[in-house]
C-alpha cells in the first residue's frame, strides 16, 4: 500500500497558538476524500444533475451557489454547468455519466480540504475573502468560488463550519497565510480525518 502525502505534510503542526487563553478559530485538514466533477451539456443540465444527485445519494441536485448533503457526500454547484461531489471515499462504482449528458472527471488529488470553525472563523476568512459570510447571507449549504491572495478557491458552509478547497500546489502557501492571520484570534490546529491509503 503506497502512502498518500498531504500538501501540508511539512507545514501542519497540531496544537494551539496565537493570542493566549483564547481559541477563536479551529483549523484542520480533512484528508482521505474523493472529489468528482460532473459537467453537463447545457441542454442536459437536469439529467446530468440527477445523475450527480444519485452519485452522492442526495435528494436533489443543488442550484448555483448551493450544496446539498447526501449519504454519498456533499454535492456542490461550482459552475453553471458543473457540480463537484466531495466524499469521504471514492463514489461507488457506477456506470458512469453517459457521453450524451456530460463528462465526469476525478479531481481528488487536485485540492486540499481545509476546515475552519470557531467563533472567529468568519472573521479569519474575511481577512482574505471579499464575501459576506454572515449566517444571514451565507448560511449552511452555501457555496462560493472566490480567491485568497489571487488564488482561486472553493468555499462552502456545512454544519461543521466553513470548508475550503485549495488548489494543492498553493495549499501550503495559503495555509501559512491562514495560520499566521489566525494568531490574532487565538487558534488551534486539530486532526480531522486520516491519511488515506490505497
Amino acid at each position: 500500500m503506497a502512502e498518500w502525502t498531504s500538501a501540508l505534510e511539512s507545514h501542519l503542526s497540531l496544537g494551539r497558538f496565537g493570542t493566549s487563553g483564547v481559541i477563536g478559530v479551529t483549523l484542520s485538514e480533512v484528508g482521505g476524500f474523493s472529489l468528482t466533477q460532473i459537467s453537463a451539456w447545457p441542454e442536459q443540465l437536469e439529467a446530468a444533475g440527477q445523475y450527480a444527485a444519485r452519485l452522492g445519494n442526495c435528494e436533489t441536485f443543488p442550484g448555483p451557489g448551493q450544496c446539498v448533503e447526501g449519504a454519498g457526500g456533499t454535492l456542490m454547484r461550482v459552475e453553471p454547468l458543473k457540480w463537484w461531489l466531495i466524499a469521504p471515499t471514492m463514489p461507488a462504482e457506477q456506470a458512469g455519466l453517459p457521453n450524451e449528458l456530460g463528462a465526469e472527471l476525478d479531481l481528488s488529488s487536485s485540492r486540499t480540504w481545509i476546515r475552519v470553525s470557531g467563533p472567529d472563523a468568519e472573521g479569519l476568512l474575511n481577512r482574505f475573502l471579499p464575501l459576506n459570510l454572515s449566517g444571514k447571507t451565507f448560511p449552511t449549504g452555501s457555496v462560493a468560488s472566490s480567491a485568497i491572495h489571487h488564488i482561486g478557491i472553493t468555499l462552502w458552509r456545512s454544519q461543521e463550519g466553513f470548508n475550503l478547497l485549495l488548489p494543492r500546489s498553493f495549499a501550503a502557501s495559503i495555509w501559512e497565510l491562514l495560520t499566521e492571520s489566525a494568531t490574532q484570534f487565538g487558534a488551534e490546529v486539530v486532526r480531522s480525518g486520516e491519511p488515506r491509503a490505497r
Binding site: 500538501a7 493570542t19 472573521g123 492571520s181
Partner: protein
C-alpha cells in the same frame, strides 16, 4: 502660552500616570491624553519647524487638521515621521522627537531660511534653478536634478526608518447595511436609529473614544454615555481608532484601523494596523467640521490655535492652555469656549469682527467688536496681538493687547472629503461661508456639522434623519446653519501698506502673498494655483487653508468664491502606511508560492530551487560541493549516458472531454488531432489569431472522448483561459468541457538510455513497456508497486529515450521513493531545470524563451507541422506577406568559433562590420554542452542557417562579456537524426 494641567476635570485618568520621552526629555502625562495634550501640560510650546522657512510651530488644533505639532514617533526601525501629536494617543514609554530641524525644534539652524523668505516665494525654485543661462543648458533639467537633492534636504518633513518594517499588517473585508463614519452627536444618533430599524450597522470613529463633540463638554457626558450604551445594545459593530480614508464605487469604503499604535508592548499576534475594505448598502457621513484659521501676520506663532481646540484641551484633557487669552472670532461658536476658559480661571477677551452686540456670555468675558488680529507679537511664543479695526473696505491698526494665547475662529469647514471622492462637488454656501457637501445619486448621506448644521441638538436630529433616509423611512429635512447671528466672512487681515507673512497653508508655508503672486503671474485656474503655490498639497490636503486660498484668489480675480471653484479631494483622507496597503502580502507572501507535489521530496534529496513563475522548481542537485556549472553538466551527461529523473509536475495539464474534444483540439492546434488514436500522444503547436505561436505541448488521447493536453509551465493559465474563451464565445456548439488538472497530477520525466529499465523495475504487474508495446509517442495506464495507478507516455524533451510518468499528486512522493532507488542503481541521477535546459538546447527544442510572442511557427523551424488541409486558429493570418519574408529571424544553433570561448544569452548576433545598432539576430539561451564539449547556444538570426552558413558572425554583448566570434549552425546540435529518442 503658559499652559498648565488643572487639578480636576477632563476625561484623563489622573491615577494612571504615563511617562514618555520628548526630544530626549522624560515627561509625564495621564492615561487618556494625546501626545499634544501631554506636551501642552508639560509647558512644551515649540513642537515643530515649518516646511520651508523652518519657523517655530506649536499646537494649532486638537485633531486631524493639525499643521504645527507634526512630530516623529518611535525610534530605530519603528520610527514614523509626520505624526500629528494631536492624534497620537499617549502610552507609557512613547518616544517622540521634533523633525525638520537641527539640532532641535527649539533651536534650529535651518531657521536662517526665514531671513531669505522674501526670495522664497511660490515658484522660486523653478525660476531660479531651471533653465537659467548661463548656468543651464540642454533641455533645462540637468542642473535641476542636482539642485533638487539639496532643496529636498533643506525643505521637507521627517524621515522614516530605512530598515525593513518590523511590524505586520492585516487586511480585512467588512459588510454592513449602513456604514456610519463619525461617532459624534450626529453619528451616534444615526447609528442607533439605523440599528433600531433592524439594519446591520458599522460605526467608525477615528478617535479612541466615542462621542465626538460630546467629549468636550462635561455637561453632555450623561447623554453621551447613554447613547453609547444604547448603540452597543442595539448591536452596532464599532471600530474605534479607525479612519475612513476613502469612498469608492458601489458603497465601498477604505478604512484604516490602528490596532496597536497606542500600546507599549502589544500582543505580537496582533497586527499594527488593519486595512479594511467595507461594502455598505448606504453610507452616513457624520464626519464633523473643522474650524478655520484666519490669515494675518505671524498667524503661525506658537500660542495661536483654533478656538475649539482650547475647549478640547480644557474639557477633555484638563489642560488650561493659557492664562491671558484673546479669542478672535467672526461667528458664534467661539463664545462657548470663552465662557469655559473663563470659568477655569483664565482671563479672557473676545474680539469679534462683527459689529453688533452679543448676548449670553459671562460678564467676566470682555468683548470688543469690529476688531480682528493684524499681527501676532512675540518670538518664538506669542506675547501679544496687534489688533486691526474694520474700516469698511479694509483693516487699519487699532492698538496692541498682551496675551499668552490667541484663539482663532474664522468659521467652519464641513469635512466633505469622502463624498468628494465620489465626485460630489462641494457647493459654496455664502450664508454659512463654507463649502457644503455636493449632491450624489449614490446612497451617501451627510449628518451634523458635516452637513453645515451647527447646534448640537440639530446635529442629533440630523443624524436620526440621515439614518431614516438611509433606511428608506420618512425623514425631517434639517437646514444648514443654526447660529443666532450670521457669520462674517474674514479670510485675511492685513493693513494695505504692510508686507506680511500671513500663512494660508501652514503645512506648506504658503502665504497670502504667494496666492497674490500666483495671480499676478497669470494663474487663474484653481488647479494651476494649487500646483504653482502647492496650496493644499501637504498631508492635510488643504483642510486648513483651501477656503482661505480660494477666497484670496477670488478677491484677486474680482470673482466670488464659487466662480473660482475648488479642487476635488482624493483618497486618502489621512495618510495610509504602505505597510497597511501591503498587508500580509510581503516577504515570502509577496506572491503565493506554488509547490509541486515533489517539492519536499526534492529538497530532501538535495535540490537547489529556482523560481519559474510562481512555481519553485529544482534548479540542480549538487553533490559534494559541486558548483551549479559542475552539477548541471554532470546531470546532463548522466541523462545521455544512463538515466535521469526530473520533476515536470509544473507543466500545465488540461482535461479536454466530450464528443467534440477531438474536433476542438483540431481547430486549436496547427497540426492535425482529429485522427489521433486512443493510446497515442502528439506534439502540437497552437497559434494566436494573428498567426504567432502561442504555446506548445503534447496531447494524450486517453479515450475516445478524453484527452489530456499539456502546456508549458509559463502558459498554463493563459491556455486554459483561451480554451474557455473559444468554447464560450466562438464554438458554443461544441460539446467539450475543459478542466485544469495541473494540480491533480505529479509528473516526472525519466530520460536516458536506461529509462525503460528504471521504470520497468517499479511496475507492479510486469506491464510491457517495450518499444513494441509502448513505442515513441505511446500512452498507457500502468500500475506501480504499491498499487499506484499511473499514466505513462513515451515522449522526450531531451532527445533521449524518455517517458513521462504521472500519478495522482498525493502519491508523488511514493512514486519517487520507488523510482529513485531504481534509477540510482543504474547509475542515474536527479536533474533540475539547468540540465533540462542543456538537454533541450542541444536538441534545438524551443521553450518560452524562443516562443516569446514574436515568433511564427516557420521562424521556429516547425512550419512543416502546420496542416495545409484544415483551418485552425491563426491559419489565415500566418500567411501574411510580412510573416512569409525569407529574411525573418529564424531558429538557429550557435557555436563559438574558438571552442574554448563562451558567450552569453541575450547577446546580439551581428555581421563583423555591424556591431552597432540592432544587429541581425539574438541569442535566447546558452549552455555548456557535455555531449559536444563546448558552449553552445540557440537563438534567431535573419534568414536562418542558410543565410549565414560559413560566414563570420559576432555575438556582441557590450555591457558584459564583449564580442565573441561565433558560427551559425543547425539548431539540432546533438543527434540531429533523432536516433536516440527511438532507441
Amino acid at each position: 502660552m503658559t499652559a498648565r494641567r488643572l487639578e480636576s476635570g477632563g476625561r484623563i485618568d489622573r491615577n494612571q500616570k504615563v511617562t514618555f520621552d520628548w526630544d530626549g526629555k522624560a515627561l509625564s502625562g495621564f492615561a487618556g491624553d494625546t501626545l499634544a495634550s501631554a506636551l501642552m501640560a508639560n509647558g512644551e510650546t515649540v513642537l515643530g519647524r515649518s516646511f520651508k522657512y523652518h519657523r517655530p510651530r506649536g499646537i494649532m488644533s486638537a485633531g486631524v487638521e493639525e499643521s504645527g505639532a507634526i512630530v516623529t514617533v518611535g525610534k530605530d526601525t519603528r520610527r514614523e515621521p509626520n505624526v500629528k501629536a494631536t492624534m497620537q494617543e499617549l502610552y507609557d514609554g512613547l518616544t517622540a522627537t521634533g523633525q525638520n530641524a537641527w539640532p532641535n525644534v527649539r533651536f534650529d539652524l535651518g531657521a536662517v531660511n526665514g531671513l531669505f523668505s522674501r526670495f522664497f516665494a511660490a515658484g522660486f525654485y523653478y525660476k531660479t534653478f531651471m533653465g537659467l543661462p548661463p548656468f543651464e543648458w540642454g533641455s533645462g533639467t540637468g542642473l535641476w536634478m542636482q539642485y533638487e537633492k539639496l532643496i529636498r534636504r533643506a525643505a521637507g518633513m521627517g524621515t522614516a526608518s530605512r530598515a525593513p518594517d518590523p511590524d505586520h499588517y492585516d487586511h480585512a473585508h467588512g459588510f454592513c447595511d449602513v456604514l456610519v463614519v463619525g461617532a459624534g452627536p450626529a453619528g451616534l444618533n444615526a447609528a442607533l436609529t439605523a440599528a433600531e430599524a433592524g439594519r446591520d450597522v458599522l460605526l467608525v470613529e477615528q478617535d479612541f473614544e466615542l462621542g465626538g463633540d460630546y467629549l468636550n463638554d462635561p455637561a453632555a457626558e450623561p447623554k453621551r454615555a447613554e447613547l453609547v450604551t444604547a448603540v452597543r445594545n442595539a448591536g452596532v459593530h464599532i471600530l474605534t481608532r479607525t479612519t475612513a480614508f476613502g469612498l469608492y464605487d458601489d458603497g465601498t469604503a477604505g478604512l484604516l484601523e490602528k490596532v496597536t499604535d497606542h500600546l507599549r508592548n502589544p500582543d505580537p499576534s496582533l497586527p499594527r494596523q488593519r486595512f479594511w475594505t467595507v461594502r455598505a448598502g448606504a453610507t452616513i457621513l457624520a464626519t464633523g467640521a473643522l474650524e478655520r484659521s484666519i490669515a494675518f501676520e505671524n498667524n503661525d506663532r506658537p500660542g495661536v490655535m483654533t478656538a475649539a481646540a482650547a475647549r478640547v484641551y480644557l474639557n477633555r484633557y484638563g489642560v488650561l492652555p493659557g492664562t491671558r487669552i484673546l479669542i478672535a472670532t467672526n461667528n458664534d461658536s467661539a463664545y462657548g469656549t470663552a465662557v469655559d476658559l473663563e470659568a477655569a480661571g483664565a482671563q479672557v477677551t473676545v474680539i469679534d469682527s462683527r459689529a453688533e452686540q452679543n448676548a449670553g456670555t459671562s460678564e467676566r468675558v470682555s468683548i470688543q467688536y469690529g476688531l480682528a488680529p493684524l499681527e501676532a507679537l512675540g518670538r518664538p511664543n506669542i506675547t501679544g496681538v496687534e489688533l486691526a479695526a474694520d474700516t469698511g473696505n479694509g483693516w487699519k491698526p487699532a492698538g496692541k493687547q498682551g496675551c499668552d494665547l490667541l484663539l482663532i475662529s474664522g468659521g467652519w469647514s464641513p469635512v466633505v472629503n469622502l463624498s468628494s471622492h465620489r465626485g460630489a462637488k462641494p457647493a459654496w454656501n455664502a450664508e454659512q461661508a463654507c463649502f457644503l457637501p455636493g449632491q450624489t445619486k449614490e446612497p451617501i448621506f451627510h449628518a451634523g456639522s458635516a452637513a453645515g448644521i451647527w447646534p448640537r441638538e440639530a446635529c442629533e436630529t440630523s443624524g436620526v434623519a440621515a439614518a431614516q433616509r438611509a433606511t428608506g423611512e420618512a425623514f425631517q429635512t434639517i437646514a444648514p446653519g443654526g447660529w443666532a447671528r450670521t457669520i462674517k466672512p474674514v479670510y485675511e487681515v492685513r493693513a494695505s501698506d504692510r508686507v506680511s507673512k500671513a500663512f494660508v497653508d501652514f503645512q506648506h508655508d504658503v502665504t497670502g502673498d504667494d496666492i497674490r503672486l500666483a495671480h499676478q503671474e497669470g494663474f487663474v485656474s484653481v488647479e494651476h494655483l494649487k500646483r504653482y503655490t502647492t496650496l493644499g498639497m501637504a498631508t492635510d490636503q488643504g483642510r486648513m487653508g483651501n477656503v482661505i486660498g480660494l477666497a484670496l484668489m477670488a478677491d484677486a480675480l474680482g470673482k466670488d468664491i464659487p466662480d473660482v471653484g475648488t479642487t476635488r479631494f482624493r483618497p486618502p483622507y489621512t495618510p495610509v502606511a504602505i505597510g497597511a496597503l501591503a498587508g500580509r502580502n510581503v516577504a515570502g507572501h509577496f506572491k503565493a508560492l506554488r509547490r509541486t507535489p515533489l517539492h519536499d521530496w526534492n529538497l530532501r534529496h538535495g535540490a537547489t530551487m529556482t523560481e519559474a513563475g510562481l512555481w519553485h522548481r529544482p534548479w540542480y542537485f549538487a553533490q559534494d560541493g559541486e558548483t551549479i556549472d559542475e552539477a548541471y553538466v554532470r546531470e546532463a551527461a548522466t541523462v545521455r549516458e544512463t538515466v535521469g529523473i526530473c520533476d515536470v509536475s509544473s507543466l500545465g495539464k488540461i482535461a479536454v472531454q466530450g464528443p467534440d474534444a477531438a474536433e476542438f483540439l483540431n481547430r486549436v492546434y496547427s497540426n492535425g488531432f482529429a485522427k489521433l488514436p486512443v493510446g497515442k500522444a502528439r506534439y502540437g503547436i497552437m497559434l494566436r489569431d494573428d498567426g504567432m505561436v502561442m504555446d506548445d505541448g503534447t496531447t494524450w488521447r486517453l479515450g475516445e472522448t478524453d484527452f489530456l493536453t499539456t502546456t508549458t509551465t509559463a502558459h498554463a493559465g493563459k491556455v486554459m483561459v483561451w480554451f474557455e474563451e473559444l468554447l464560450q464565445t466562438r464554438w458554443p456548439d461544441l460539446k467539450v468541457h475543459v478542466s485544469s488538472v495541473s494540480d491533480h497530477w505529479a509528473g516526472v520525466s525519466i530520460a536516458g538510455p536506461k529509462s525503460r529499465e528504471a521504470i520497468s523495475a517499479i511496475l507492479q504487474d510486469g506491464t510491457d513497456i517495450s518499444n513494441e508495446a509502448l513505442p515513441f509517442m505511446g500512452v498507457a495506464g500502468v500500475t506501480l508497486k504499491g498499487n499506484i495507478h499511473a499514466l505513462i507516455a513515451r515522449i522526450s524533451f531531451s532527445g533521449e529515450r524518455a517517458y513521462e510518468l504521472y500519478v495522482p499528486a498525493g502519491f508523488g512522493e511514493a512514486m519517487m521513493d520507488l523510482l529513485w532507488p531504481s534509477a540510482k542503481a543504474l547509475g542515474g541521477c536527479l536533474y533540475g531545470m539547468e540540465a533540462l535546459g542543456t538537454l533541450r538546447i542541444e536538441k534545438g527544442h524551443v521553450t518560452g524563451a524562443e516562443l516569446d510572442g514574436r515568433v511564427t511557427i516557420d521562424d521556429a523551424g516547425l512550419g512543416k507541422m502546420a496542416s495545409t488541409k484544415k483551418a485552425f486558429i491563426g491559419s489565415a493570418l500566418r500567411q501574411r506577406p510580412e510573416l512569409l519574408r525569407q529574411d525573418r529571424p529564424q531558429l538557429i544553433g550557435i557555436f563559438p568559433k574558438d571552442k574554448s570561448q563562451r558567450f552569453k544569452g541575450g547577446s546580439i548576433l551581428c555581421a563583423p562590420d555591424g556591431t552597432s545598432g540592432f544587429g541581425d539576430g539574438w541569442i535566447t539561451a546558452v549552455t555548456h554542452s557535455p555531449a559536444l564539449g563546448h558552449w553552445i547556444g540557440i537563438g534567431y538570426i535573419s534568414g536562418g542557417v542558410e543565410a549565414w552558413r560559413g560566414l563570420p558572425v559576432i555575438a556582441s554583448d557590450p555591457t558584459r562579456s564583449g564580442d565573441v566570434e561565433v558560427e551559425i549552425v543547425s539548431p539540432h546540435m546533438v543527434d540531429p537524426e533523432g536516433v536516440r529518442v527511438h532507441g
